[in-house]
């Protein structure tokens, strides 16, 4: 009995330690963002004086060289369509893979899964050339296209697996009730897989929002830069303004956190698998 309690205690302690180690960098960023530069210059963990302020946030938001306000709007312009488009396309394709019979289905699916393993760095140059030929370099649309292409395979994989867990009789019942294939998909199947759709949406949104690499390749006009691209520019010219830099980081982090917070209950359901019998 005592031994059991001891094991539980040490397990809890370990979890706490890992949790703390995990959160310390974030705590540093947060502390730096809400205090004036003078207070944190010798370390954010020193609290001889503590003057909370929002000045850093305002500074980052209206930064003269790289205003985050514009960056956030630009990011949203990419992240929202960059989430919706692949989700829509991949969900329809995934349903086809899950429910319809067609030749070469397995091979096609395997190809898609295999191509998911290609690292982004490998396709950087080809992507740039394709986009240049299409005249889509330095446009949000081009970036949306690339993110959609990058998102479709994994969403397809995820959604197809989810579809195959749904009881097919529900779809058959709808068919007998008088629904066409499209109606079955949009009125019966899609509402049944809202958790999976939301999970995919949250992950894809975070991915697109946090992306730095593809944006770096494709967007370069100062006024078109995305939020993630602007953070390095917040450093300042002659000295690093840690306060503004960290405040900018937190502002940019806020979007995916909010998305997750709002959709969390669906997200968890989708990950666990949600089948109503």
């Amino acid at each position: 009995m005592r031994r059991k309690a001891l094991t539980a205690l040490s397990r809890d302690a370990l979890a706490w330690i890992i949790g703390l180690v995990w959160i310390i960098p974030f705590l540093g960023v947060f502390m730096a963002s809400i205090r004036p530069l003078g207070e944190i210059i010798h370390g954010w963990w020193r609290f001889e004086s503590f003057t909370p302020t929002l000045r850093n946030f305002i500074g980052a938001w209206n930064h003269p060289a790289a205003p985050l306000s514009q960056g956030m709007v630009n990011s949203l312009k990419v992240a929202i369509p960059g989430t919706i488009v692949p989700l829509f396309v991949a969900a329809i394709a995934a349903y086809g893979f899950a429910r319809f019979r067609f030749s070469m289905k397995t091979y096609l699916f395997l190809t898609i899964v295999m191509l998911m393993t290609v690292p982004q760095q490998m396709i950087a140059v080809p992507i740039f050339r394709i986009m240049k030929n299409l005249g889509l370099v330095d446009t949000p649309f081009g970036l949306v296209l690339v993110h959609s292409a990058w998102g479709i395979p994994w969403i397809l994989f995820f959604m197809r697996n989810f579809f195959s867990t749904l009881p097919i009789e529900v779809e058959e019942a709808a068919r007998v009730d008088g629904a066409s294939d499209f109606r079955v998909f949009f009125q019966i199947v899609l509402p049944m897989c809202i958790p999976a759709l939301v999970s995919s949406a949250v992950l894809q949104f975070m991915w697109v929002w946090n992306d730095f690499f593809l944006a770096l390749i494709l967007i370069y006009s100062p006024e078109k830069l995305l939020a993630t691209q602007r953070i390095p520019l917040l450093r300042g010219m002659y000295h690093i303004d840690w306060g503004v830099l960290t405040a900018g980081t937190i502002i940019v982090m806020l979007a995916p956190i909010l998305v997750f917070a709002f959709l969390q209950r669906y997200y968890v359901k989708g990950m666990v698998g949600w089948v109503s019998k």
Binding site: P167, E172, A173, R175, V176, D177, G178, M192
Partner: protein
């Protein structure tokens, strides 16, 4: 309301033949049961009528129309599934109204039909609930309601009661039969449960390995099974089968099972002619073997002394698991029997009701 006609229908999945050359007429307003063990092709047959499986060969008619290439939505059928298949994101009302909405019925008509069906099924108070808030029996009713509101030509039911507990199943069995009387619609009902088949249908179709074995009214099939499979499948406990030889001695007919022999009624002469002195399968239902103590004036040439291995009291009767020589069989006798485990007891074979089957073809000798 319509008749359904299957004309030499075959269904193949790759090399597997699920339904083999089935020809079957389901009359208008008939309650027809497809019964058989799993994998016998009964569900596939139903799904072909529904349009959920394509027909490999042959034709299916609903009314006078060949429906082979008509999608399910245009066949004017309704189907009830084993796992209910309710739409989880819609409440009960919308589950039932969905098919009518798709067919663009006026709102008032939809409302009227849904409420009527709900009243018939006693689920008026559940209309606002989601399927996950319902018990199994309630979901079953909603699934039925969804079919009823459509007022289709044909109802298709695929093992609709097998997910219910035993007590509810018995109750729903009676309600379904009642519902059929009320709706006066053609129903095709699939089950693996021979009790459901016996109690509910106007006619039964027994299937095995993709072949239709026998079609007939429940008692007709029970009393006159065409072959060993049907005889063994319909009836519970199942019919006893014993290897035996037919003998003719002094103008009498006997079934000789080596360790015992019983006399057949003289009416059998007409049918067993060519089987005399040959091996046959002797079939007798458990209720046609009685405890001698309760058969006054039992003819001695039908009495067999058997070792009783196990007695199973069922309340209203007792099942005796008996052995004579190499033969084991079950007798269903009066509850007052004095037979005990391990004792030996005299049983009477009611050979008027005995069944004889050809050993090679397994077909009934009639």
């Amino acid at each position: 309301m319509a008749r359904v006609y299957l004309e030499h229908v075959t269904k193949k999945f790759g090399n597997v033949v699920a339904v083999n050359d089935a020809t079957l007429e389901i009359k208008d307003k008939e309650f027809l049961i497809l019964v058989g063990p799993s994998g016998c092709g009964k569900s596939t047959t139903l799904r072909m009528v529904a349009g959920l499986e394509e027909v490999t060969e042959g034709n299916i008619y609903i009314g006078d129309t060949i429906v082979n290439d008509i999608p399910p939505k245009d066949r004017d059928i309704a189907m009830v599934f084993q796992n209910y298949a309710l739409y989880p994101h819609m409440d009960v009302y919308n589950n039932m109204a969905f098919g009518l909405k798709l067919r663009r019925f006026p709102r008032a008509e939809i409302d009227k039909r849904v409420k009527e069906a709900a009243a018939i099924l006693g689920i008026e108070n559940l209309l606002k609930r989601k399927p996950k808030e319902l018990s199994g029996g309630q979901r079953q009713r909603v699934a039925l309601g969804r079919a009823i509101v459509r007022e289709p030509k044909v109802f298709l039911m695929d093992e609709p009661l097998s997910n219910l507990d035993a007590k509810l199943r018995v109750q729903m069995r009676a309600e379904l039969a009642k519902l059929h009387n009320r709706l006066q619609t053609t129903i095709i009902y699939v089950t693996h449960d021979q009790t459901e088949a016996m109690t509910m249908g106007d006619r039964i179709v027994v299937m095995k390995d993709g072949f239709i074995q026998q079609v007939g009214a429940p008692m007709e099939i029970y009393d006159h099974p065409d072959n060993v499979f049907v005889a063994g499948f319909i009836g519970s406990p199942a019919m006893n089968f014993l290897d035996a030889v037919i003998l003719r001695e002094d103008g009498d007919l006997w079934v000789d099972a080596k360790s015992f022999r019983v006399k057949l009624p003289p009416t059998r002469f007409e049918t067993v002619g060519e089987y005399i002195d040959k091996e046959v399968i002797f079939g007798i239902r458990p209720e046609d073997i009685d405890d001698k103590d309760f058969v006054p004036n039992a003819p001695p040439d039908r009495i067999v002394t058997a070792d009783i291995d196990v007695t199973e009291p069922m309340g209203s009767e007792v099942y005796l698991y008996a052995t004579v020589g190499p033969h084991s069989f079950i007798a269903r006798v009066d509850a007052r029997t004095t037979a005990r485990d391990g004792s030996s007891h005299q049983l009477v074979f009611n050979t008027d009701k005995a069944h004889l089957f050809d050993k090679k073809t397994q077909k009934a000798i009639r």
